[in-house]
């Protein structure tokens, strides 16, 4: 066999191996979580808040954390989207190519992406002190939106950058403003990518524990106001795993299954909802 063919096969092998490793890790995580969690899974887990002694193995569920996490990640995703969209539209349609401000903004987001979530938690906490907020849903939403903002912005940025210059010019040539073009052409063309960016950010937000520990706090009750503390699934898992009781630890795994299911359901629903708006995309 000639040398180039061997080289081709070696690298193909390496690529397949790494793809398989990623896929297998995912399967193993899911299998572990489901196998350990399934015995503890019951309707009460998703329909009840923790009763007295829940963490000692008594009755109840984690509805507090399911609702808390949904509010929190949903709110943070909404807030981050409201900030991200104008930023990426500015970077791609308004800023001149080679603009220093644009380059600096992109660089900042790249750096912020690498900041550990506990730092966002601490930063959110200082802001809360400044605003005289207690640990609350609002505090958590602010901290998590900081955490997911760089992820969402950079993901959207990469998608919008792929829009061909000619498509923009075709719209401008009809006498449209940049804003009209952004709204009616660019967002339509990039909707699936924008949605992916939002979903990635949502997944990151709902799965993070460190940023909410000081900011959203934890409670056994479902939050009924932005100014009340809110429970979250990752912290709920953490507290249950931290108990010495095997039956409570099993519930932690069941909670992890629920967390995964929430992310999955949200992803599927949003794909279905946006699927019908994407048929006009120009390839």
């Amino acid at each position: 066999m000639d040398k180039r063919k061997i080289e081709e096969n070696i690298f193909r092998g390496l690529m397949v191996t790494s793809a398989l490793m990623i896929f297998l890790s995912l399967v193993m995580i899911l299998v572990t979580v489901i196998r350990k969690g399934l015995p503890a899974m019951n309707l009460a887990m998703i329909t009840q808040s923790p009763k007295g002694g829940y963490y000692l193995g008594k009755e109840g569920g984690i509805l507090n954390a399911i609702v808390g996490s949904s509010y929190l990640a949903g709110g943070a995703t909404l807030l981050a989207t409201l900030i991200s969209l104008p930023v990426v539209i500015y970077l791609n349609l308004y800023a001149k190519r080679g603009s220093r401000l644009a380059a600096f903004t992109r660089f900042s987001f790249d750096v912020l992406w690498g900041v550990p979530s506990i730092v966002y938690g601490a930063f959110g906490f200082t802001i809360m002190l400044f605003l005289r907020l207690r640990t609350s849903l609002l505090g958590g939403i602010i901290a998590v939106s900081f955490l997911i903002l760089p992820i969402m912005t950079r993901a959207m940025d990469e998608v919008i950058r792929m829009v061909p210059e000619g498509l923009l010019e075709a719209s401008y040539a009809l006498g449209t403003t940049r804003f009209e073009t952004a709204l009616r052409v660019v967002l339509k063309q990039t909707l699936p990518g924008i949605l992916t960016a939002i979903l990635i950010a949502f997944g990151r937000g709902i799965g993070d524990a460190a940023s909410v520990i000081f900011t959203a706090g934890f409670t056994d009750y479902i939050p009924n106001s932005l100014f009340r503390p809110a429970a979250t699934l990752p912290l709920s898992i953490f507290f249950q795993l931290g108990t010495p009781f095997p039956e409570v630890q099993e519930r932690a795994y069941a909670s992890a299954v629920i967390l995964t299911a929430v992310v999955l359901i949200i992803s599927i629903i949003s794909r279905i909802l946006t699927g019908r708006f994407t048929k006009h995309i120009v390839k």
Partner: protein
């Protein structure tokens, strides 16, 4: 040949960073005629065309001096609203760029943005301009399908209809048939010949035969300089400058 001037280019210089793309161009483009800009690639044809509707503005590091008067108004004047200038001109690109929406919405896009909301009125506009671009018969039963499903040739005619729908005075074409098959090219050329009774048309091409078929007036550019311009017959049959003659004969390209 007597004609009325529609676009008047006066001492136009355009620089990309340190490179000069157009050198002191002065030329008058006649009203309701087809003007063809010819010249080898990289000679500034597209730059000149894109300066007319100020798409040149968004190019990085561009500097412009001189004037382009459209209907007597200098389009580079800082008081001029660029969207109004662009509305006066429809532009066809080398490759058609349908917008990410249905066939109907592509044509209605411009009129909607410029304030037409009435559904009946929009229906009328869509039909009228699709007919004018000779696309109506092929798409009238599938107006709500994505524009990207059309063939490239159909897409280019859709872009023509979309440009006409904002009721411009001028049609600009930047090698508008270069991505099309011969049959589609021919249909686009036929449209231009029909449309010149109502519109001023300016086309960039590097295909000399196409220039001969279409041109009433010819502008020959070489390396950013205006070498010769004049009525088509004079330029093609009796060029005054040696370089024009050599280009026509294929000695330089």
């Amino acid at each position: 040949m007597e004609f009325k001037t529609h676009i008047s280019v006066q001492n136009l210089n355009i620089f990309y960073r340190n490179e000069q793309a157009l050198r002191n161009i002065t030329v008058d483009i006649p009203d309701r005629k087809i003007t063809v800009i010819i010249g080898p690639s990289g000679c500034g044809k597209t730059t000149l065309l894109k300066s007319f509707n100020r798409l040149i503005d968004s190019v990085d590091g561009v500097r412009i001096s001189g004037k382009v008067l459209v209907d007597g108004e200098n389009i580079f004047d800082s008081k001029v609203e660029v969207t109004r200038i662009r509305k006066k001109m429809g532009l066809l690109f080398q490759k058609p760029y349908p917008l990410p929406m249905s066939i109907y919405e592509n044509v209605a896009y411009g009129p909607k943005i410029h304030g037409i909301k009435n559904k009946k009125e929009l229906d009328r506009i869509v039909e009228q301009y699709l007919k004018q671009a000779s696309l109506w018969e092929e798409v009238k039963d599938r107006l709500n399908q994505p524009a990207s499903n059309l063939s490239v040739g159909q897409q280019q005619r859709l872009c023509l209809a979309r440009g006409l729908a904002v009721e411009p005075e001028i049609i600009l074409g930047d090698e508008p048939t270069s991505a099309l098959d011969p049959k589609s090219s021919q249909r686009i050329e036929e449209r231009f010949l029909e449309l010149k009774t109502d519109y001023t048309i300016v086309i960039v091409t590097h295909i000399l035969r196409q220039a001969r078929r279409l041109a009433d007036y010819v502008i020959f550019l070489y390396l950013g300089e205006l070498i010769e311009h004049g009525p088509a017959r004079d330029i093609f049959e009796n060029p005054k400058v040696k370089m024009t003659k050599e280009y026509m004969e294929g000695i330089i390209s």
